[in-house]
Symmetry: C2
Subunit: 457 residues, 2 copies
C-alpha cells in the first residue's frame, strides 16, 4: 500500500497539466441549471462527464434522467477483500454568471492568471470533481484501488437538488455504501486545512405584492393607493431588527443552542472581523452582535433578500406607481430547523404585518434540511490524517454556512454519514464574478484524495 | 364670427375620419423620449409633425434642436386687428410602453375597439395635439383665424422637460404671447367637463445602496454583511408612516395649506372613495387619512417608489447576497414646494437613517415646480363658456395631480398664464398598458377648441 501510495503521488505530480486541461474542457460547458435556455448545455455536460468516467475504466456508467437535469453515475470495484465502499458525490451544474460585466475574463472561457484558474464552476465544483477523479486515475494507473468507489454526479445542486432525493430512493440498492465522500467543500485557507462537520439548510421563497390592478400614473393617482414596491420594502423591513436579529415570530424556536465547548472550539478559528471585512469589502460587518462572525455564518440562521424587482427599472425616468413587486427571499437554516416550519412562520408573519391596502402571495420554491456529521468516526479521522500528510499539521474543524442538500438526503435514505472533503478557498468568489480555483491548493487536494483513499483501506 | 363658428363646427363633424387617420399616423411613431434607442424615432416624429404643420399653411415652421430632443415650432397670423396671440403647447413624446405583455393590441399599432382608440400616446398627448390642430384646420378652411396662434411642441415632457426652459429663454421674442393654451390636460368624465387650475410639481431621484464590494454567496457570508436589497428596503420603509404620511423631516414645510373655501369646492367634485377604488383596482385606498382622496391626488405631495431592483431577478433560484440595489424615487410637489429643497430634505433623511453597514448615493435626476393658475381671468372664462356650449353645463374646477413643467416655465420666462385645455378621461390608462382615447369625447374636444378660439377673439 505504501509503495502504491508513493507511486500514485508521483503520478499526480507528473500529470498536473493533463488534469488542468481536462478541467478546462469541463468548465467550457455553460451548465447553468436554473436557466431553461441552457437545457441542451446541461445534457452535453452530462454526456461529456459520462464519457470521461468511461475513459477511466468505470463500470455501469449511465446518464439517469430525472424530472429535472440528469444524474451521471459510474463505479469501480477493488479486488481487495473486505474493502469499504465509498460513494463520491459531486454536481456538474453551476450558478448563473451574471453580472457579466464584472468578469475580467469570460465566465465560460477558463483563464489562468498568476496561480489561479478563473471560470464559473472552477471552484464550485467542477474543480473538485476533476480533483477526485485525478486521484482515482493515479491509483488505477499505479495498481489496484484501495476501496470500492461509486460516483454520483447531479445537475441540480445550485437550484436546491429538487430531484436527487427521488433518484437516491429509486436507486437505493445501486448506491449502497459505507460512507459518502462529498467533494463540495472547502478549507479555511491555503495553509489552513479544515474539515467541515456541519452544513446549513435552505428555505427559498418568492414574495409577490400586488397593489393597484395595474401600473398607474403617479400624478393622477399618487396619494390614494399603496405603491407595490413601497409596500414590499415595508414588509421586508419588518423581518429584521436594527441589530440584525430576524423578527419573524417562531423563526429561532428550533435552533439547537451552541454549547460552550463548541463555541470555544469555534473561537479558535482564525477568521475574525478583519478577515470578514477584507473578504466581503463591506464598510462594516452586520448581524447578531451576541455571536461572533464565525458563529453567524456557520451556526446561526439567516434571512436574505436574494433579489428584488418592481416598477420601472430601465435607465431613464418613468413616473409610475408599480402595481406589482416581488422579492426572492431565502433562509439559511441550522440544526434542528426545518424548511417547511420556517415557511409557515414567514406566512404567519406576513398575515400579521401585511396591510389591507395590498394583496400578497408567498411561494415556497425549494428547501433543504441542515446537517451535522459525527466528527469522531473513522471516515473523518482518515481525512484528518490525509491532510496532516500533505500540510504537516492537524486540520481545523468548522461549520460550513452553505447548503449541500444531498448530505441530509444520503443520511435519510442510505443511512450513511458524509465526509466533506473539498479544497475550495474562502476567496474563490463562489456564485460571484471572477470565481476562481487556486491551483497550488488544487494540486495539494488531489494528493490529499490519494492519501485519503489509501487511509480508508 | 357666429357664421364662421357654425361653418367650422360643421367642417369638424364631416372630417372626423380624416382627423382620426392623421392621429393614427402620428401614433405609429414610437417616440419614447427616455430611451436612447428611440432617438431616430424621435427625430422622425418631429419631422412628420413639422411637415403636418406646413401642410396646414403655417409660417416659420422649424425643428429646433436642443441638447435633448428637438422642439417643433410653427405659427399662424390673423388679419383681425388687435387679436390676442395664443401659444399652443404640446409634447410629441410618450412614456415607455412596458410591460408589453399586458397590452391587448401592440402599443404602436393604434387600434379602435368599440368607441376607443388604443395606443401609447393616444391620450397623453398626441390625441390632444391633433385635436387642437383639427380645430385650427376647420377655422382656416372656413374663413380667417379669430386669434394669432403659435405652436410649440416639445419632445421631452415625459422625462421632465429638461431642455424646454432653455429653449423658451433663447426664443423669448418669437414666443411672445398673451396666454398659453396647454393641451396636456383632462376632464373629469365623459359628461363632466372640468378646468384644471393647479398642477403638481416633480422631484425625481435615484437612490443607490452598496453593501459588500461584490455579490456574495449567501451560504458563505450570510449573517455578517448587510444585504444591499434588504438595506434599501429598510431605508424606503423609513420614508412613510403606517398611515401614509411622509416622514422625511421638513418635507411638508413649504406646503401651502388648503383654505376652507377651496376644500369645500373640492368636496363638491364627484370623485369619492368608490371612484378611486374602481379606477385603481386597489384592494383598499391608502394615504393621509385627514385628507379626502381628491385632496390627496391634487393638493397634497407624495413620495413614490417608481422602480426598485437588486440582486437576482431572473426566473429560478440564486442564493446571492446582492452587493448593490437601487430605487427610482419621485415626489409630486404642491405649491409652494421646491424640488431642490425636497432633494436636500431627502439627503438629510438618508444621512440620519442609513446605517454604517452600507454606502449610499442619492442622485437628483430632474425637477419641476408646481403651479397654480388664476381662474378668474378672461382666458379661463372663454374656455368655461366653450365647454358650456358643448356640454350644456358649467365645468368643474379642479387641481391636477400630474406635472406639466412648461406651465411654471412659461409663467417664469414669458410672464403669461397657461390655460389647461385638454380632454383626457380619467380611465385613459395614462403611462400604463392599454392607454386609450375615448373618441366621442375627443370629437367634443375638437368642437370645444373651435368655440374657445372664437370666444378669445
Amino acid at each position: 500500500m505504501a509503495v502504491q501510495r508513493e507511486a500514485a503521488l508521483t503520478y499526480v505530480r507528473s500529470h498536473r497539466e493533463a488534469f488542468l486541461d481536462t478541467l478546462k474542457t469541463f468548465l467550457r460547458f455553460p451548465s447553468i441549471s436554473t436557466s431553461e435556455q441552457h437545457r441542451a448545455d446541461m445534457e452535453a455536460t452530462a454526456r461529456w462527464l459520462a464519457d470521461y468516467l468511461r475513459s477511466l475504466g468505470m463500470a455501469r456508467v449511465n446518464i439517469y434522467p430525472t424530472d429535472g437535469h440528469p444524474v451521471v453515475y459510474g463505479e469501480l470495484t477493488t479486488d481487495r477483500a473486505g474493502a469499504p465502499t465509498v460513494l463520491v458525490y459531486g454536481h456538474y451544474d453551476v450558478q448563473p454568471p451574471d453580472p457579466l460585466d464584472l468578469w475580467a475574463s469570460p465566465p465560460f472561457e477558463p483563464t489562468v492568471r498568476e496561480d489561479r484558474l478563473y471560470a464559473r464552476g472552477a471552484a464550485d465544483m467542477k474543480g473538485q470533481i476533476i480533483g477526485v477523479l485525478a486521484a482515482v486515475e493515479a491509483l488505477l494507473r499505479t495498481g489496484d484501488l484501495p476501496v470500492n468507489l461509486k460516483f454520483m454526479f447531479e445537475g441540480e445542486e445550485e437550484i436546491g437538488s429538487p430531484h436527487l432525493a427521488g433518484f437516491i430512493a429509486r436507486h437505493k440498492e445501486m448506491l449502497q455504501c459505507d460512507v459518502s465522500l462529498n467533494a463540495d467543500a472547502g478549507i479555511m485557507g491555503e495553509d489552513a486545512p479544515s474539515i467541515t462537520y456541519a452544513l446549513r439548510g435552505l428555505a427559498y421563497f418568492e414574495l409577490h405584492v400586488q397593489g393597484p390592478a395595474q401600473d398607474l400614473h403617479s400624478g393622477v393617482y399618487g396619494g390614494v393607493v399603496h405603491n407595490a414596491a413601497q409596500a414590499l420594502a415595508e414588509l421586508i423591513a419588518t423581518m429584521h431588527d436594527a441589530e440584525g436579529h430576524i423578527t419573524v415570530d417562531g423563526f429561532y424556536d428550533q435552533v439547537r443552542p451552541l454549547d460552550e465547548e463548541e463555541r470555544a472550539a469555534l473561537r479558535r478559528l482564525p477568521m475574525d472581523e478583519a478577515f470578514y471585512l477584507e473578504h466581503t469589502g463591506a464598510p462594516a460587518l452586520w448581524g447578531e452582535p451576541e455571536y461572533t462572525p464565525v458563529e453567524r455564518v456557520g451556526a446561526r440562521p439567516t434571512l436574505e433578500i436574494n433579489g428584488i424587482i418592481g416598477g420601472f427599472t430601465d435607465p431613464g425616468v418613468k413616473t409610475v406607481i408599480p402595481s406589482h413587486a416581488s422579492a426572492k427571499i431565502s433562509c439559511r437554516l441550522v440544526p434542528d430547523q426545518d424548511p417547511e416550519t420556517i415557511y409557515q412562520c414567514l406566512r404567519r408573519h406576513l398575515e400579521t404585518h401585511a396591510p389591507p391596502t395590498i394583496r400578497w402571495e408567498l411561494k415556497y420554491i425549494v428547501g433543504a434540511k441542515p446537517a451535522i456529521i459525527d466528527r469522531k468516526s473513522r471516515w473523518v479521522r482518515a481525512l484528518s490524517q490525509a491532510m496532516e500528510s500533505i500540510w504537516g499539521k492537524e486540520p481545523f474543524y468548522k461549520r460550513e454556512g452553505g447548503t449541500v442538500p444531498v448530505v441530509a438526503q444520503v443520511k435519510d435514505i442510505l443511512g450513511v454519514d458524509s465526509v466533506m472533503a473539498g479544497f475550495i478557498l474562502p476567496d474563490a468568489d463562489l456564485h460571484a464574478p471572477n470565481e476562481n480555483l487556486h491551483l497550488p491548493t488544487w494540486y495539494r487536494g488531489i494528493e490529499t484524495y490519494v492519501h485519503y483513499l489509501c487511509n480508508l483501506a
